[in-house]
Symmetry: C2
Subunit: 196 residues, 2 copies
C-alpha cells in the first residue's frame, strides 16, 4: 500500500505540474499552484522533486520517451516504406493530439531546462528525427518515395504532427484519430514521386 500511495502522490504532482505549465508556462507557474492542484502543501512538492526544474525534466523526459516509443514501434511494425511512413505519421499525430498538453510543455519549455537536462532531451529529439530520416531513405532506395532534402523533409513531416499541440483541443473540429489519418494522407502525398 505504501509504494502505491507513493506512486500516486508522485503522479498527482506530475499531472498537476503538466496542467500548470501548459496553462501558465514554466516561469509563470508557482510551486504553490502545483501543490494546490495536487491537493498538497507547498512543501510536499520537495519531498518528491528537488526543484521545480526537476519536475519539468521528469515531465519532459517521460513525454519525449513516450513519443519516441510511438515512432519506433510504428517504424518496426511495417516494412513497406510508403505504408510505414503513413503509419508513423498517423500514430505520431494521434499521440500528440491525445497528449496535447504534455506536448505543449515538452516542446515549448525546452529552454527552461538546465543545460545538462537539455542535453538528455536533445538526444531523444535527435533519435526521433533519425527514425524519420531512416524511413524516408528506405523509401528513396526502393524508388517508392522521392525526397531531395532528407533532413529538411523529415523535419517538415514531423512538424505536421508536433505543431498540432499549439492549437488542438479535445472536442474541436477533428478527433485525434481523424487528424492522424489526415496527416498520414498528406505526408504520403508529399513524399510520393511526381507522376511522369
Amino acid at each position: 500500500m505504501l509504494s502505491t500511495m507513493t506512486t500516486t502522490a508522485r503522479d498527482r504532482l506530475l499531472d498537476a505540474a503538466v496542467a500548470a505549465f501548459a496553462e501558465h508556462g514554466f516561469g509563470g507557474t508557482t510551486t504553490r499552484d502545483i501543490a494546490a492542484r495536487a491537493q498538497m502543501s507547498p512543501a510536499a512538492v520537495y519531498v518528491h522533486h528537488a526543484t521545480k526544474e526537476e519536475l519539468l525534466f521528469a515531465i519532459s523526459q517521460r513525454g519525449h520517451q513516450e513519443a519516441l516509443d510511438v515512432l519506433a514501434r510504428s517504424y518496426a511494425k511495417v516494412d513497406a516504406p510508403v505504408e510505414r511512413v503513413a503509419g508513423m505519421v498517423r500514430d505520431f499525430s494521434e499521440w500528440h493530439a491525445r497528449n496535447s498538453r504534455i506536448g505543449r510543455v515538452v516542446q515549448y519549455e525546452f529552454g527552461a531546462l538546465s543545460s545538462d537536462h537539455r542535453a538528455v532531451i536533445a538526444d531523444l529529439r535527435r533519435q526521433m528525427e533519425q527514425h524519420m530520416r531512416d524511413a524516408l531513405v528506405a523509401g528513396v532506395d526502393e524508388g517508392v518515395l522521392e525526397v531531395t532534402d532528407v533532413r529538411g523533409t523529415a523535419r517538415a513531416v514531423l512538424s505536421l504532427s508536433v505543431d498540432l499541440v499549439r492549437w488542438f483541443e479535445p472536442g474541436g473540429a477533428h478527433t485525434a484519430a481523424e487528424l492522424g489519418r489526415l496527416h498520414a494522407d498528406l505526408a504520403v502525398r508529399m513524399l510520393r514521386p511526381s507522376a511522369g
Copy 2:
C-alpha cells in the same frame, strides 16, 4: 528629433522584450531584465507601456499583423491557384525563419495575454487561416488542387511554416530562403491531384 528619440526608445524596449521573452518566456522574464537589455532603468519600461502584458500584446499584435500582411500580399500577387499557394507558403515560411524569435514569442505566449488582447490576436489568426482556405478552395474549384478537408489541410499547410520557429536558428543547415522553397515544394505536392 524628439519623436525620433521616442520611437527609438520604444523600439529598443520592444526589441529587448522580444529577446527576453524568446529566451525565458513571458512568465520567466523580469521587467528589470527587459530594461537592462534596452539599457534603461527598470522604471523606464513604464513610461512607454503600462504593464508587462501590454508589452507582450504590442509585440504579438505587430508580429501577427506582419505575418498576415505577408500572406495577404502573396495571395494577391498571383492568380493561378497552384503558383499562388506555392508563393504563400514560400513567403510565409521565409518570414517565420527570418523572424523566428518574434514567431516564438507570438506563438507560444498567446496564453499569457489578457482575454481582451487574446480576442484581438485570435481574430488575426482567423484571418490567416481564412486566406489559406480561400487559396485552397480556389484551386479545388479550378480542378488543379485536390483537398477533401479544407480546414484541416489549411492548418497543416500553415503548420509547415509556423513550426519552424520551434527549431530554426540562423546559420543552421538551411537558409530562410531554402526553407521557403522546400516548404513551397512540399505543400504543392501535398495538394496536387493524385495521378490518374
